[in-house]
Each structure stands twice: as C-alpha cells, then as structure tokens.
C-alpha cells in the first residue's frame, strides 16, 4: 500500500491557520466540527489548494514542497477525491462520468458498483446512494494512489446512511488503498477507519484507534466528540477527587483523579435509566425529568438533566418513558473519566 505523508502543511484560513502533520497508510478518518479545516486537508492533498509551507509526499514522489517550490498540479497527482456533494457532471451520463477519469474504464466499474442498469442515466435522476456509487467508481477509475472522501455520508438521509455505510465499509476493507475520509460524525469515523484524528481549528488534537479515543480522550473536546456526556464540577473537598460536586449540587463519585474545576466524561452506553431510584449506593444517580428522547434505529437517547443515556428502544417502551416523566440516570464510578482539570495544585 502506498503512503501519503503531510509534513507541517500550513494553509492560512480566514480565522486560523491549518497546520497539520499526518500519515495516511491505511484508512484514516479526520473528524472535527465544521469549519475545522477538514476539507482543506483533502484539497491540499488533491492539489486544489496550495499550502503556504510544508511538504506533501506520496511514497517517494513530492507533490508539494514549500521550500523547494514544488507544486504538482491536481491533474498530475493520482488522487481519487469524492466530494461531499459528489460533484458528478450533470451533463454526462453515468458511463461518461466514469470514463471522464479513464477511457474505456466504465465496464469494469459499472459491474463492480452495480451501476450497469444506470449507465445511460444522468446524475440528476439518481438517488443519493447511487450518486455516491458513481462518484466512487469515477474516483477509482482514475487509479489513484490515495482515496479522499469528503463527508461521504453527510448527503444521505438517515435511512440510506446505514446501508451505504455498510457498503462503504466493505469497499474500503477490500481496496488496499490509503484512504483519508473526513466526517463530523465520530460514529461514522469509528465504523469506517482504522485510525481517527480529531482536528479542531486547524490543529490535530489526538490521533488513535477509535477505541483509544473513547478510552483515553485527551481533552474535553475529544471526549464530547466521541459521544461522551461532559459534566463540570469541583472536587468534594480539596484534594479529594473521588467526590465531585456538580453545578446543581449532585455528588458524583469517580475513580479518576483531578483538582480544581474538573470535567468528567461519561459515555451514554455506560448509563442506565430507571423509573425508581436504584438501591445500589455505589452508583452515581442523576434524578430529573426526561427533557428529550431521540430514537435512532433500534436505540434511543434519553436525556435527563446534563446527561444522555443510550438504551434500546425495547427498554424505552418497557419502562414507559416519555418526555416530562421523572426518571433516574445511574452510572458506576468506574464509568467516569476526568478529561480536564484546571486551577488545581498539580
């Protein structure tokens, strides 16, 4: 597998500078909030944006070198870029779109991407999932050294998304092609990528496997991005980090250590919901009215006060939960993690 390396690539953006060093040698996801510079990273690799400084290498070929003034034009780099809106040529048929990348390549990809019946159709008449298949086929027909996917699932509705994600997962695992995908959804990143880099305001905050990011988030941002609930509070007594007073007075026990103002991360799947107060005194309990319930497939997110719990739709119905109902969210001390402390004595 080829390897694409970004060395201190700097691109001045409107309010901050993008400054990224990154190696793409497997499937890597770049996650972060919108406006963090994710797409700019893709554009820099594709040659659509010229960085101010740094180096971009593809194996031993230099695509960009700020100091040596090397800039390979996008048409001379072998990059398969799939745009968020797919950017299919509206005046060309599916077949012509694929052959735009490489002549006589269509037949191979039409079958592989189940597009044979649509080969004469114009992009305007295709569904979101079909468009993405055409965009992928077109990008791969280019025979790229690296595949770049910009928010591959953002343009799809929730229903198609699940299927397309599974398709994409299967495709990427069989490709043997370094892939950099950009998403604002940690769940998508975790499902598709071997490694995840969290980017905020142009800087990488943390890189690791999805499991590592969930287990050891480097800061509150990474924690909240990986889906954790963040609770802010102060240790019960000075130096005693096992008891944390939240802003509303609730006392939370944690197995982690911290000082001063601390931020605790609790993952939704570590929280259980009940309609009566749990007997177990070792549990942390947050009581209150349910303020929101969001169903996602067979799971549901239930929000009580500052936390959201993830439970199955079955238990949602079994417990007869609805917004406005009084309920208890409980979680173990070992399920909490201090991700930031400030103003402490450390």
């Amino acid at each position: 597998m080829a390897k694409v390396t970004l060395e201190q690539v700097n691109v001045p953006l409107r309010t901050f500078d993008l400054d990224v060093s990154l190696t793409v040698d497997s499937t890597v996801a770049l996650v972060g909030p919108s406006g963090a510079g994710k797409s700019t990273v893709l554009n820099a690799i594709a040659g659509l944006v010229k960085p101010a400084s740094g180096r971009i290498l593809c194996d031993h070929e230099t695509w960009f070198d700020g100091r040596r003034r090397v800039f390979v034009r996008p048409e001379d780099r072998r990059v398969g870029l799939v745009f968020q809106d797919y950017a299919l040529f509206p005046h060309l048929t599916v077949r012509q779109n694929i052959e735009y990348a490489r002549r006589h390549a269509a037949d191979e990809y039409l079958d592989r991407f189940k597009l044979r019946q649509l080969e004469g159709a114009k992009p305007g008449s295709l569904s979101g999932g079909e468009r993405q298949r055409v965009a992928l086929a077109r990008a791969l027909a280019r025979e790229p050294e690296i595949l770049l996917l910009d928010e591959p699932l953002a343009a799809l509705d929730a229903h198609t998304k699940v299927d397309v994600r599974a398709e994409l997962q299967q495709l990427l695992s069989g490709l043997e092609l370094p892939t950099l995908l950009v998403t604002h959804d940690f769940e998508d990143a975790a499902a598709l990528a071997d490694r995840v880099s969290v980017i905020v305001e142009g800087r990488l905050r943390q890189t690791g496997t999805p499991g590592e990011l969930v287990a050891r988030p480097a800061d509150p941002f990474v924690a909240s991005f990986t889906g954790a609930n963040l609770l802010h509070g102060r240790p019960h007594a000075h130096g005693d980090a096992t008891g944390i007073h939240l802003e509303d007075g609730t006392l939370i026990t944690t197995s982690d250590n911290g000082d001063g103002e601390v931020t605790l991360a609790v993952y939704p799947w570590d929280i259980t919901i009940s309609t009566t107060r749990p007997d177990d005194s070792a549990m942390n309990v947050i009581a209150g009215e349910i303020t929101a319930i969001a169903e996602l497939g067979n799971r549901a997110r239930v929000t009580i006060g500052p936390v959201s719990a993830e439970i199955t739709v079955d238990s949602l119905h079994r417990l007869g939960l609805h917004t406005g109902r009084h309920a208890y969210a409980s979680f173990k001390a070992t399920g909490t993690r201090i991700v930031a402390s400030k103003g402490g004595t450390e």
Binding site: E75, R77, L81, F83, D85, A87, F89, P90, H91, Y100
Partner: protein
C-alpha cells in the same frame, strides 16, 4: 375591501403597461396587410439593407463570441486588482449613448484618429465601410453577451471544475468538457440578446459608417432613410425586424430554461442582476 381596491389598481396599471408595450407592434401590423408587407420585401432597398444587416451582424456576433467568451471566463473565475475596472469597461457601451460611441470610434479609428493614422499607413481606412458597421455593432452589442457569459460562468459549480482537475483533465480540457457545456444555455441566451441589440444598432453606425445603400445601410438606417420616401417600405422593414426579434426572444427563453435545468441556479434575464 381596501385590499380589493388596491389589487384592482395593480391589475389596471399592469394591463395598461402591457398594452403600452404592445401598441407600436400592433400599429405596424395593422397599418399594412401581410400581402403588402411581403410585396415590399422585393424592394431593392429592403433587400440590400437586409443583406448588409445580416452580414455585419453575423461577423460582429462571431467576433463577440470569439473575444468575449475568454474575457468573460477570466473575469468570472479570477479576482485581480483592477477587476472592477475591467467589469466597468465591459459595461461601458451599455450606458454610453450610441451616437457618442460612434463619435468615439470615429475619433479613435477615423483617418485622423488615435489609431487611424497608423492604419492609414497600411492603406486601411475604416470609416464608412462595411467593416465600420461591424465594428460599431460589435462595440455596442458586446456587453449584453459578455455580462450574461460572466453570470453563466460564475454559476458553474466550482466543485465540478475541481473534480475535473482531480480526474486528470487540465484547465483547457476542463473548460471545453465541463464549463462550456454547462454554461451553454446562458451563453446562447447572451448571444441572442447581443444579436437583437446589434440588429437595432443605429446611432453608432450612422456616425461611424454612414448610411450608404448596399454598403453600410443596415435595416434600421434604411428605415430612417425610407421614412420620408415610402412609408410602406418602412413598415415592411419594421415588420421583418419585429419577427427576427421575436425569434431571438424565443431562443433566449429556451436557452435560459436549458441553462436552468442542469445546474438549477437562476440566471437572470439580461444577466443584469445575477450575483453569487
């Protein structure tokens, strides 16, 4: 109640406006029978004027297309110092009184003009030739095409050109295979407008090229010349121009609906207010 009165007032004003716009056209066709109109078309003055108009218009539009398209693309896709000055220059002929444009062309390209003396050295004299008609028409009509072309190019999704580049097409191939086909509708609409404007050109032409039958006398100039001589001829020529204009307007409508369907971004008629 007050709302209905207001509404009726609006309808009345609108009907009056539309009637006002239609009135001269009705006048022309009511004044003479179709047979009489057709008979006048064999009149040599009419035939000569028609040929001169067609020839100069076609050449002028070809020149506008050839020079205007790259200019418009550059202005639409690049931002450079002096960009707004360049846009103002493109729009200048639109606001310049045609007679002034004619005087200007004469002062620049006339025998004693800015460039005229150099041209004279090569034995080229432009004023009062068919070339002068073509130049006058191109000068006056060009903004209508270039403005619409800029708007069409600006409406082309930049992701599509970027995609084309990453798929291995250089800027030139991208222009011909992606940009041009997508802007096609808008470009044809602009050309139709520019053509219509060129057909009616009067002021600049009469100043710079004069009104010589079979050489520089275009239909509008012939209409003016025949006005005192034979009013029926005038009407016939007017009828011809109306028909051509109607045809151009139809082309424009069709072309614009074309433009809209693939990229779905709106392109205003005349391209006078499109911005991205």
């Amino acid at each position: 109640m007050r709302r209905t009165i207001g509404y009726c007032l609006f309808v009345a004003v609108a009907v009056l406006t539309l009637a006002f716009l239609l009135l001269p056209i009705v006048g022309i066709f009511v004044h003479t029978s179709p047979g009489k109109l057709l008979g006048q078309l064999s009149n040599p003055v009419v035939k000569d004027a028609f040929v001169v108009t067609l020839k100069t218009s076609l050449i002028a539009q070809a020149l506008i297309l050839l020079f205007g398209t790259p200019t418009a693309y550059l202005l639409a896709t690049r931002r450079f110092t002096g960009h707004s000055v360049a846009i103002t220059l493109v729009e200048l002929p639109l606001v310049l009184p045609p007679a002034v444009a004619g005087v200007g062309l004469l002062a620049a390209l006339g025998r004693n003009g800015l460039l005229g003396s150099s041209l004279d050295a090569f034995g080229i004299s432009l004023p009062f030739t068919q070339t002068a008609v073509t130049i006058a028409v191109a000068y006056v009509a060009s903004p209508l095409y270039i403005r619409q072309a800029i708007a069409s190019f600006e409406a082309t999704d930049p992701h599509l050109t970027a995609a084309s580049r990453t798929l291995g097409a250089g800027p030139v191939r991208t222009f011909f295979r992606v940009v041009l086909p997508l802007a096609r509708g808008g470009l044809i609409a602009g050309l139709a407008l520019s053509f219509a404007r060129g057909l009616g050109e009067f002021g600049a032409t009469i100043m710079f090229a004069g009104s010589l039958q079979r050489v520089t006398q275009t239909l509008p100039l012939a209409i003016y010349a025949e006005f005192d001589v034979n009013f029926d001829t005038t009407l016939a020529m007017s009828g011809v121009l109306i028909l051509i204009s109607a045809l151009l307007l139809l082309t424009l409508r069709i072309a614009l609906s074309w433009q809209r369907s693939p990229s779905s971004r709106s392109t205003s008629l005349l391209g006078l207010s499109t911005s991205t």
